[in-house]
């Protein structure tokens, strides 16, 4: 478990993908809904494998889903 340094656009991406629910995303990437909630809230940094799975679900490159730059978390893009 890491501290909250990895930000993400999960809620916006879910909304853009036919308002996909957290449970739908959780089922697609094989984790629990609580894990998706924790990732969305930047409380849990996913493993590289899970991050790639999430990005692949939205058909986006990893850096469009998760942001981490020069050791500093960057602001979430709306």
């Amino acid at each position: 478990m890491q501290s909250a340094k990895v930000l993400n656009n999960l809620s916006r991406l879910r909304f853009d993908n036919n308002e996909m629910t957290q449970q739908d995303l959780a089922d697609k990437v094989g984790v629990t809904r609580q894990t998706i909630i924790a990732i969305e809230g930047s409380k849990y940094a996913p493993s590289l494998e899970l991050a790639f799975k999430i990005a692949a679900t939205f058909k986006k490159p990893l850096e469009e889903v998760f942001q981490y730059e020069n050791g500093q978390a960057v602001k979430r893009t709306k």
């Binding site: 478990m1 984790v31 629990t32 809904r33 609580q34 894990t35 909630i37 924790a38 849990y44 493993s47």
Partner: protein
């Protein structure tokens, strides 16, 4: 609340409830002359009660919530919980080892020392469930 979080809450509450009562009873008995038999009976009762309550609680939780496979966050929380429990266990066991000669000099027999070791395991187990619950609550 996920199945695993509910399970951790159930284990935490039953562990504190059952073993807290057991130790409160057992340590009161040590002022009596023939306590070993009574302590053993209380120990067996605590184990049986623990199995029944934990089993019952988990059956109720499994019926009411969706059973999910353990994911990477569950495994990370579990690892952190075991790590904390291990630190607590080692610390307490060393304290018992260092205090044992003093206890023996004050006529505390092997049954008392055994109870102290059992207490170390119970406190470590409580630390494990407490860490699990805190991690799930914090979302980390």
């Amino acid at each position: 609340m996920s199945f695993r979080e509910k399970s951790a809450w159930a284990c935490l509450i039953t562990t504190i409830g059952i073993w807290g009562s057991y130790f409160a009873y057992a340590f009161r008995l040590f002022t009596h002359e023939h306590y070993a038999g009574s302590v053993m009976m209380a120990f067996i009762a605590a184990i049986i009660l623990s199995i029944i309550l934990n089993g019952g609680a988990h059956i109720a939780i499994a019926i009411r919530s969706r059973r999910e496979k353990k994911d990477e966050r569950d495994i990370a929380i579990e690892s952190k919980s075991y790590r904390n429990a291990y630190f607590v266990l080692i610390l307490l066991i060393w304290m018992v080892i260092l205090a044992a000669p003093v206890g023996t000099a004050h006529h505390f027999g092997p049954v008392f020392i055994g109870q102290m070791v059992l207490l170390c395991f119970v406190v470590a187990e409580t630390a494990k469930y407490l860490t699990t619950v805190v991690c799930y609550r914090r979302g980390s």
